[in-house]
Symmetry: C2
Subunit: 229 residues, 2 copies
C-alpha cells in the first residue's frame, strides 16, 4: 500500500460500456465528443471520479447524468493505466459495463456539455473511437460473452416481459452463433428462473408467443452454476 504521500498529481476516470438490445442487435451507447482532446470523435461515456464518491457511486452518477437512468447495476471489469493512454497526463480509467432495457421510456436525457450527442450504435458497426476506447470496448464485450454463459444477465437487456425466442436472440447475438431452439428452451427452463405469465404477446403478425418474466427469488440457486450454450 501507500507508504509516502503522493509524489505526483494524477487522476482517475470512469468509462462506461452501456449495452442495449434493440431490433435484434446488440448496441452500445457512444457519445460524440465536444471538447479537446479528441473533439468530434466518438467515445465511450465517462468522466472523472469526484473526491467524495466511491468508484461504484461515480459509475452510477455518470450513467445517470448521461441517460437519466437510475438503479442499474454496473459492474467494474478492468482498469486501464498505460502511460500514454491519455494525451493530457497520467489518467487511469476504471471501466464498468451495464446492460440496459431499451424501448419505451429509454429516451436519453440531454447530455452534459462535454458531448454533442449520444447514440446507440450497433456493436458490429463501431466508428473509430477516442483514446484507448476500442481496447476497453473489446475487453468489455469479451467479458459479457463469458459472463452470459454463467449467469442470466441476458434478462437485463430485455423488457420485463419477454418471449423465449427473444431471449434466444440475445444469446445468439452476444455469442455470435446460432443456437438450437429446442435445446435452448429445454436448458433455459430447467434453471427455473423463468416465470410463465400465462400471457401472450400482443400486436404481432402471426402466432403470438408466451411471455415470461425473470424470477429473482430463484436466481440465487443458479448462481455459479455452469451454463453452456
Amino acid at each position: 500500500m501507500i507508504e509516502v504521500l503522493p509524489q505526483f498529481n494524477s487522476t482517475f476516470s470512469i468509462d462506461c460500456i452501456l449495452f442495449g438490445f434493440d431490433e435484434g442487435e446488440l448496441k452500445v451507447l457512444l457519445i460524440e465528443r465536444n471538447e479537446e482532446p479528441f473533439k468530434d470523435w466518438w467515445a465511450l461515456p465517462g468522466n472523472l471520479v469526484s473526491e467524495n464518491e466511491s468508484l461504484d457511486q461515480s459509475a452510477s452518477r455518470i450513467l445517470h447524468e448521461l441517460t437519466g437512468i437510475e438503479n442499474v447495476y454496473m459492474e467494474q471489469f478492468y482498469t486501464f493505466g498505460d502511460v500514454g493512454r491519455h494525451p493530457q497526463g497520467r489518467i487511469i480509467s476504471v471501466a464498468y459495463y451495464a446492460m440496459l432495457r431499451l424501448g419505451g421510456d429509454k429516451a436519453l436525457k440531454p447530455i452534459s456539455n462535454y458531448a454533442k450527442q449520444a447514440y446507440w450504435i450497433n456493436v458490429k458497426e463501431l466508428p473509430k473511437l477516442a483514446f484507448d476506447h476500442q481496447k476497453i470496448f473489446d475487453q468489455g464485450l469479451e467479458k459479457i460473452k463469458r459472463r452470459i454463459k454463467h449467469q442470466p444477465i441476458a434478462f437485463e437487456l430485455l423488457p420485463e416481459k419477454f418471449t423465449l425466442t427473444q431471449l434466444q436472440n440475445v444469446y445468439e447475438v452476444i455469442l455470435g452463433k446460432k443456437l438450437d431452439k429446442r435445446n435452448f428452451r429445454k436448458k433455459m427452463l430447467s434453471f427455473n428462473v423463468l416465470k410463465d405469465l400465462n400471457e401472450k404477446q400482443k400486436g404481432v403478425s402471426f402466432r403470438a408467443a408466451t411471455l415470461y418474466r425473470f424470477d429473482k427469488r430463484k436466481y440465487g440457486k443458479l448462481f455459479g452454476k455452469e451454463i453452456s450454450f
Copy 2:
C-alpha cells in the same frame, strides 16, 4: 473519458496478493509495516504507481523490489476505491495477484524500508490486516478459486517437476474440499498438458511417484475449456 483537467490531487497504488504453496498449505506474502499509517500492522505488499510506468509494469516492479523475483505473470483483478479506504487521502488501489513457486531459491530479498519484514503466512491463519486489505485478499482468493477451475494455473504454485498427488493437493487446498484420486488423475491427464518425465521422486520414504511437467505448448488448446473438480 476525461473532459476537463484534473480537479483534485489523487493517487493510485498497486496492492499485490502473492500466493505460494508450501508444506501442503496455501500461503500469502504479508509485510509488517514500518511506517504510518498502520505502523506495525500486517499488510499486503504494495506501493504507489510511478508516473512513467503502466499498471502492469508497476505491479512487476513492486514484486521485484520485494522478493527479487522477475518474469512472473501478475494478473489484475479488481480496483478498490472507496472514499475512506486510506486515511491519508483519496488513494485508489489496483489489486493484482500472482502465484509463485516457493522452495529452494525463494528466499526473500531484504525488504525496502517501508516494511520491517515479509513472511509467508498460511491463508487460514491471517492476522488483522491494514487498510481494506482483508477485503482485497478475500476477493483475490475467490478469484483464484474460480480461475483454477477453468485454467491450469495450479502449476504455477508447484516446482517445475511435480507429482499428480502434489497437484491434487493444490486443488484441494484452494478449493477447500477433498477430490477423488482416480477422477482427478483421469481428468487432469485428459487435458494433455502434462508431460510424463519418466522419472521418479527422490528422497521420499515409501514408494516414489512419477514426476510430470506442465507442457506449455499444449496449453493453448485447453484455454477456455470448462474444467470442474
